[in-house]
Symmetry: C2
Subunit: 336 residues, 2 copies
């Protein structure tokens, strides 16, 4: 069999179809401009449970269930589940997988994890290893802030480039048929590092990786910006989105108007949320709630959708290391 890979980009012979997808989000997200597009929103970030971590797990549990319902697939028909999140040891994903009697593959790509999961799911389907795969991811403001930065009770000040970790989850069922959008290509990203050491400035840490993956994607399959209606990033935020546009402009791609960012449109209030949303749930939730419906209905054609991960670790920051970034991309379009 000839390889389906060119450079870092795979062209799927049988593009996997998204047969069910869902978004379950927290209170801030529910009050934002996309609020009425989510399948379910919680006003309480604990979802009535005894801890924030258990609240995050509840949102994922709801999202997984909703995506299965929408696909009309019962959990015991799923061949593989793939998941990951921002918490140490991807603990949310592991405890969710415990509730299902399904083969599980744990992933970590920071905020790029949802798109890493869609890439891997597509490999499993197109490679002939599965008929039905489920991929999910989540993030949560309260669980992430205390782990990565400072306890919330400290009342940390917000620089304008800081982002707000999105609370919520997205889940996707992928099959060989049954959807009205499919994933035709994926580009797996490289780890990039331009020396950012400020844990609040993740947009700057991730933008070079996004720029690299976009340019690599175009080279690999001889396409350009003109072949896409939109180029959507997961959670660069407003600062990172501007840096991405500038990096692409330096490479003779003046496409600022074609770039959208999930974290930007999800939490636009700069006073409260700084540069916008970040976290796995930014891409996971907004792709399901906003972009896929727009593609399904024909309002948007083909998009290049990028997960963007800031591979930050507090211990390494204490050791004066910088923060690398990674970005994986999928091409999503309506099945013609």
């Amino acid at each position: 069999m000839a390889t389906k890979l060119k450079g870092q980009t795979v062209n799927f012979y049988t593009p996997p179809q998204i047969s069910g997808h869902s978004s379950v989000m927290g209170p801030e997200e529910g009050q934002g401009p996309l609020g009425n597009k989510f399948d379910l929103t919680y006003k309480d970030p604990k979802c009535g449970k005894s801890s924030w971590e258990k609240g995050e797990k509840q949102m994922v549990s709801d999202a997984v269930g909703l995506s299965l319902d929408k696909a009309g697939v019962s959990a015991d028909k799923i061949d593989f589940m793939l998941g990951g999140d921002l918490l140490d040891q991807i603990v949310t994903a592991n405890y969710i997988a415990r509730d299902f009697s399904v083969a599980f593959l744990g992933l970590y790509g920071a905020c790029s994890t949802m798109i890493e999961g869609l890439c891997m799911s597509s490999f499993l389907l197109d490679g002939g290893f599965a008929d039905k795969v489920l991929a999910f991811s989540s993030s949560h403001y309260q669980t992430a802030e205390r782990q990565y930065r400072t306890p919330l009770e400290y009342g940390d000040q917000y620089p304008p480039y800081k982002q707000w970790t999105v609370t919520g989850s997205g889940s996707y069922v992928l099959e060989k048929s049954g959807g009205d959008v499919w994933i035709t290509h994926c580009t797996v990203g490289k780890v990039m590092d331009l020396g950012i050491k400020d844990a609040n400035n993740m947009g700057a840490a991730m933008a070079p990786a996004a720029a690299d993956t976009i340019m690599q994607h175009f080279i690999d399959i001889s396409r350009g910006p003109q072949d896409y209606d939109l180029i959507v990033t997961g959670d660069l935020g407003r600062t990172g989105k501007d840096i991405l546009a500038e990096l692409l402009r330096e490479n003779n791609m003046n496409i600022k108007n074609k770039i959208q960012d999930c974290g930007d449109i999800l939490l636009p209030d700069e006073k409260k949320y700084g540069a916008g949303g970040s976290g796995c749930a930014a891409s996971a939730g907004v792709l399901s709630a906003h972009y896929i419906p727009e593609i399904s209905s024909g309002n948007i054609g083909r998009i290049l959708f990028l997960g963007t991960g800031s591979l930050m670790n507090p211990v390494m920051l204490q050791q004066k290391e910088s923060i690398p970034g990674i970005s994986h991309a999928v091409v999503i379009e309506r099945i013609s």
Copy 2:
């Protein structure tokens, strides 16, 4: 294309070959009975660097380089790198990937990560997505203990069932040809939880997952213990190995003599290491240094090799949660 999956087990049409593999280990491991089999051992767990974390990274860097050298492949010919480790945000793997201009997929399966990586690498090769894939993993006593349990300076007491996190790394180059052993099947495990809450008793947390994956593997492809010369687990240790044998016996499989555990044979001194070694490097290092050479030379025939992961998270233990386990398996045999 018909699915290659039965239950949780994939039968590869073109079994991926291991063309290069390496082990780089720390001081305790170097002094043990397998000491002279490793490619490289360090007497200093920092490897002369300024921190334990940087020492762990150095061992992985050496292991990756050695596996490439042995395969006769330069890094720029690798289509995908896959890696993960025990540290929060799999930070060792991310910083290693930063040093290479190669598409990277981050994995987390606790101590099962090396075998998760071999499974995923095999999917990429057999699915036609790649010609050459590199998978690596690592663990490190000093970096893991302070993250998961108590700072080493506290002088924590060792119960007999406690294990010693193995310091080291293993790296594997997989290709369509070029090796003398190959991976014919893999079985992806489910997350299992029998209620263990003691972070020192990981063998007991992982044994049910290993038993489940072994039995599932036999059911899926209509094989039994008689089809394998050995069933090898990654890091159940002596306590977990005994529990596994008992769980299998309860299911009418009296195969205690056929089971070996990497953590057990790696660190046999019970006074110093309790129930034996644990950590990603137990399976990653011993598979490369001991089992693959034995298979290559014909001393051992076909083995079922299981990575075993205890999906422990300190925050969830504080919230009185129990520790789930997972186990992934690969079938390795000499190319006939």
